[in-house]
Each structure stands twice: as C-alpha cells, then as structure tokens.
C-alpha cells in the first residue's frame, strides 16, 4: 500500500519529531534550572546529610552539564527520570497514563470542534446573507470571545446548579472525575468548554472557504451534470473547502493542549494539564520537563497527521 518514498518520508518525519522533542525538553531543562526555589526547600527541616543523599539520588550534586548528559541518555531510552516530590515514582508511566486521559478529552474536543465548526460554517455559507448566516456568524464571534473557563463556568452553572434545582435534585452533574478515565458525561462537558472557542474559528474559516469554493467553475460543472445540490456540496464543494481547514489543525492542536491546562484544572481531570500546573507549583521540575516533552511529541505528530491528511484530500500534493 505505502510506497517506498512514502515510507522514507514517514521515517524522516518521525525522526524529526523525536529530535524536536529532545530539543524542546533540552531548552526546558536549562530553563527550569533557572527557576527560583526547589522541591526540597519546602520540606520542614531537613538533615544536611539526608539532603545530600537526596541531591545525590537525583544527580543534583553533579554539574549542570553532567546532569544534562544523563538526562539526554535517559530520554533517548524513553526514561524521563523520577518525580522530585514523590520519590520513587518514575515519570514516564505516570505521564503516559495522564496523556491518555488528556487525549481522551482532547480528541473529543477536537472532534466536536471540527464537527460543529464545519456544520456551522457550511450552513452559514449556503445560507449566505440570511438570518441563519448572521446567527451562525454571531455565534462564532461570541464563541471565540469567550475564554474557555467562562464557558466552563456557565456550563457548570447550568448543569450542576440550575439543572439540579430545576429537577429537584434528580438530575445533577458533579464536577469531578471518577477513576482514571471518567464517565462519558464527565468527558463531554469539559470537551465542549475546551472545543467551543475553536469551533468558532473553524466555523469562520469553513464559511469563508466554502463561499470561495461555491464560486468555482467546477461547482457549476457539477450542477450542469445534473447532480443534486446535496451531492454538489458534499462531494465537490466540501472536500475542496476542507483544504484550508486542515491547515489550522496544527495550531488547533496547540490551542487544545494549552486550553486543556485550564480546563483540566477546573474539572479536576487527572491529565497532563493538571499535572503541569501542579508540578510547577510544587517545583517538581522533572515532571515539568516531561510534560513539555510529551506536548512536543503530540504537536509533532499532529502536524504529521495534517500533512498526511493533505495528501488524502488534495491529490495535487505529494511528498
């Protein structure tokens, strides 16, 4: 199925992604070593000998350069080291689990973002300059003018407070998270809050690109063939309108990642974003570096996926 050239392309890109991840984590490595404070200073009273033992355990007694060499040696083996706060907890498995939780919410948000955004955008384009268009456009401006924590607050208010009061306590939504992966209800609300601002951006972009495409000659050709409006829009217009939308999937992924830092903290989701803020506040710098490494990998893979999607959607693009 895959040609030799495609495989080489894939291989090159994967190496590049891994390289970028190492580079990013290196920058963060040196960055966090500039940070004031330490994970151990907060400990009440610490015996100098014990502190020395801890420092030795984490190789903090070595020079920064030697620490870095050890760090790189670890990272190429997929070992991100050990938590500074919870001694003995290896970071890689911890973050892998948390990443899967974040992915669960993030992917739901992304699907929702693209789905809602494209539907709104297409409807607005087809019904251009009617009240439907104005409503869809207004919704999208409001959408990207609302920070996700504002949307989250409104949702919590609606579901956890008003719905509860209205149903006399029968229906309720509890902010929180059960088990590692939560329940569908617990996933949907944060995913909505996370995705809505970006859905607005997708809607705007889809509307613009759809209007552009609907003016194209090949849409007229498709109509002249006697195809129904539905087929003309789905088969001929939408696919071409998708091309610019795919372009923003990369930035969209970054947006969802940064957004998840806020949303996971609001909804108490045990994902990377919550871990990130917690470890920054507790000065667990090894985890901070680890989270950045994961994010660099995620962004790299998302961009690769975007490039692959291009070749699927637009046959003029070949690598």
């Amino acid at each position: 199925m895959l040609s030799r050239r495609a495989l080489i392309f894939l291989g090159e890109r994967l190496v590049l992604i891994a390289f970028t991840a190492v580079a990013v984590s290196s920058i963060v490595f040196f960055g966090v070593h500039q940070l004031p404070g330490s994970a151990f200073l907060s400990d009440r009273r610490i015996d100098p000998a014990a502190l020395a033992a801890i420092m030795h355990h984490y190789h903090l007694d070595l020079s920064l350069w030697d620490q870095y060499k050890l760090f790189v040696a670890g990272i190429v083996h997929g070992n991100l080291g050990e938590s500074l706060v919870n001694r003995g907890i290896p970071i890689t498995p911890l973050l892998l689990r948390e990443a899967s939780v974040s992915l669960e919410v993030g992917a739901t948000a992304l699907i929702f973002t693209i789905g809602l955004g494209m539907v709104l955008g297409v409807i607005a384009a087809i019904k251009q300059n009617t009240w439907v268009d104005y409503l869809a456009t207004a919704t999208s401006v409001i959408g990207y003018s609302m920070p996700n924590f504002v949307i989250a607050s409104v949702l919590v208010l609606l579901f956890a407070v008003y719905l509860y009061n209205w149903s006399g306590g029968v229906l309720y939504y509890e902010v929180g998270w059960e088990g590692t992966y939560g329940t569908p209800g617990q996933i949907l609300l944060p995913a909505f809050a996370l995705g809505f601002p970006y859905a607005s951006i997708v809607a705007r972009l889809t509307r613009a690109s759809m209007l552009e495409v609907l003016r194209q000659d090949y849409v007229r050709t498709a109509k002249a063939k006697g195809l129904s409006d539905r087929i003309v829009i789905i088969r001929h217009a939408l696919r071409n309108a998708l091309i610019p939308v795919v372009t923003i999937l990369g930035p969209l992924t970054i947006g969802i990642i940064t957004g998840s830092v806020v949303i996971e903290n609001i909804f108490g989701i045990p994902g990377l974003g919550k871990e990130f803020v917690q470890s920054i506040l507790s000065r667990d710098y090894n985890i901070v570096i680890g989270v950045f490494t994961f994010y660099a990998l995620a962004i790299g893979l998302a961009n690769l996926l975007v490039d692959l999607l291009y070749t699927v959607i637009d046959p003029r693009i070949r690598y």
Binding site: D217, Y218, T221, A222, K223, A224, K225, G226, L227, I313
Partner: protein, 334 residues
C-alpha cells in the same frame, strides 16, 4: 424540416445588483433543430453566456430569468420544478465551459467525474460506468484512456482536459451540447483539434451543438447557423455562409472585419470595434449599437429596430443594413 428540439422565446434574464437591474438577456428568441450546429457570437458581456446558462437554469444569484420561455421538446424549462431541470441537465442538455482546468474538480479523478455524470441519471454499476468512461475518453481521442481515467485533472494537458470535459458532456448521449467558449483558453493548434473533434462528434452522434464564442473564425469552423448578439439582444441571424458573405448588421460586419486573415493586404489595419459595449443597466435609447455605429442615421437615435428579413433565411435588426450603408458610402465617395 423536423420539429425544433429547443425553442427559446423572448428570453429575459436580469441581474439585480446594488447599482441597478442589469438586463443581461433582453428578449432573445431562436430555435435549435436536432443535430444542428448553432453559433452564438458577440463580445464579452453581450449576454451570450448568460443565455446559455439560462437554458440550464444555472444563472447564479443575483441573476434571475424574468421572462420568456425555453421549450425543450415542448416543455418549458423556465417554469419546471427544480428536480425536473436537474433531470435534463447533463442528460438531455450538457454543457462545457471555457476554462477546462477550473471547470474540473481538482480533487477528484477525471474518470470519476465522467462516471458521476452517468450515475446522476441512470442506475449503473461502477464497473459499467468505468468501462463507459474509458470508451468516452477514447471517443474524444485521448490516448491510453484505460490508465488516464485514473488520473487527476492536474495530470492532464489543457487540450486533454477540454476533451475530458467533452467526454463528460457526451456521457449520457444528450440531444444538445452547449459549448461556452470551449477553445478560448487553449493554444491555437489545440483549438483547431478541439473544433475538429466537436465537428466529428456532431456527425457521429447527431448531438446538436450550441457554440458560444466571441470569435467569428471559430464559428466558421463548426457551425451551420449563427446568431450575433449585442447588448442582450440578437442583432443578426442566418446561415453561416450567408452571414459571412453578406453581413447586414454593421456590428456583424465589424466583427467579421476583425478576424485576422493570413491573405489580407498588410496595409489593411486590423479593425477592432471602437468603444465599449453599453451599460446594460441603462442601455442607450434607440438602437443599442448606435453610439458605436459608423453607419448610423437619424432614426437610429430614437427608434429601436427589431429583426427584419434582409436576405435568404437571414434577419437583422438594423434600420440601415450594410447593403444600403455601403451603397451610400459608395455614392458619397463618387
């Protein structure tokens, strides 16, 4: 003579813009007989393309057909329900456009776009559709058609793309093929090939062709009959040979003068018509051509001429006609 397959009667298509109502097509009537080749000629903006789009009801907003009838085998397309028009599009009346690159969808295979034209109207299996697409590509003289069906438009040359468009048009064996400036975007040598192909196909399939062009030379290469349009109206019509030999409307005469000729005396400056086509929001009073006409008389300023018999099977909308104009000029010179 057989009954006409298409009758256009007093067609009016207007565009409702912010600046006013553009009367793009303003009372056009003509008949098309089975297997006939009809040319519609005029400068850009004279309403010839809008006429063609009106026939398939493909005029885009803010344009609307505001009057007249388009009778296809006796039924009026103008008042037909949308679904019935869709049935006719591509099946009975097919259309190909000026720029074959932009007219083909860049993200779909050429073969698929041809198959789609068939599947829109008949239930056929994918396999049958594919073999028929190959056959159609062969019919329009595309070499290695079996592998070419799998190509995307960007992998075709300009001429091949237009051939593919024609194949798509012929997919359902339509009774009418409307070709809107089919050669304008192509190289001169390719133009000739496409015209030859259309001529051959007309003979093979007996499909009637409406050829829309601004180029009188292209009409001569394909059509039996020609309509000359100016400012949304037909100003002259008749058999091609007759019109070429003895044009009666000054506009037709100027168009013919502007065909570059290899055998022409080099001192004869290539003549193009002075001035611009009129504003169709507020067309000039009287004959619409009079502001640009070098043979106009007093009457042309206030009296709007209609089509009148001026020769064998030939009609022109002119108070002067070239016969009298040239005679008058001859007298004046003498």
């Amino acid at each position: 003579m057989t009954a006409p397959v298409l009758q256009v009667k007093d067609l009016k298509t207007q565009f409702f813009t912010d600046d006013g109502v553009v009367k793009a097509v303003d009372g056009v009537s003509f008949d098309l007989h089975p297997g006939e080749t009809l040319g519609i000629v005029g400068e850009s903006g004279c309403g010839k393309s809008v006429t063609a789009l009106s026939i398939l009801r493909l005029v885009q907003e803010p344009g609307r057909i505001t009057g007249g009838q388009i009778l296809f085998k006796g039924t009026d397309i103008v008042t037909m329900p949308g679904d019935d028009v869709r049935d006719i599009r591509g099946k009975d009346i097919a259309m190909i456009f000026q720029d074959p690159l932009s007219s083909l969808n860049p993200v779909l295979k050429v073969g698929y776009q041809i198959e789609e034209a068939m599947e829109a109207h008949t239930k056929i299996s994918g396999k049958v559709a594919l073999s028929r697409a190959v056959q159609l590509l062969k019919q329009v003289r595309i070499p290695a058609a079996e592998s070419r069906v799998e190509d995307y438009p960007h992998q075709f040359s300009g001429g091949m793309r237009q051939r593919a468009m024609i194949a798509m048009g012929l997919a359902n064996k339509p009774s009418i093929l409307i070709a809107d400036e089919p050669t304008t975007a192509l190289d001169v040598t390719v133009q000739a090939q496409i015209l030859e192909l259309l001529r051959d196909l007309n003979e093979e399939t007996k499909t009637a062709i409406i050829l829309i062009t601004h180029n009188m030379g292209v009409v001569a290469g394909l059509c039996k009959r020609v309509l000359v349009m100016y400012a949304g109206r037909i100003v002259e019509q008749g058999p091609v040979e007759q019109i070429f030999k003895d044009p009666q409307h000054p506009y037709t005469w100027s168009l013919l003068q502007s065909i570059p000729r290899l055998d022409a005396d080099r001192k004869d400056r290539l003549l193009s018509i002075e001035g611009l086509p009129p504003d169709l929001i507020k067309p000039p009073r009287g004959c619409r051509f009079h502001p640009r006409c070098q043979f106009r008389i007093e009457r042309c300023f206030h009296d709007d001429p209609t089509l009148m018999d001026v020769g064998p099977d030939q009609e022109a909308a002119c108070w002067v006609t070239m016969r009298r104009a040239l005679a008058r000029d001859g007298e004046a010179r003498a």
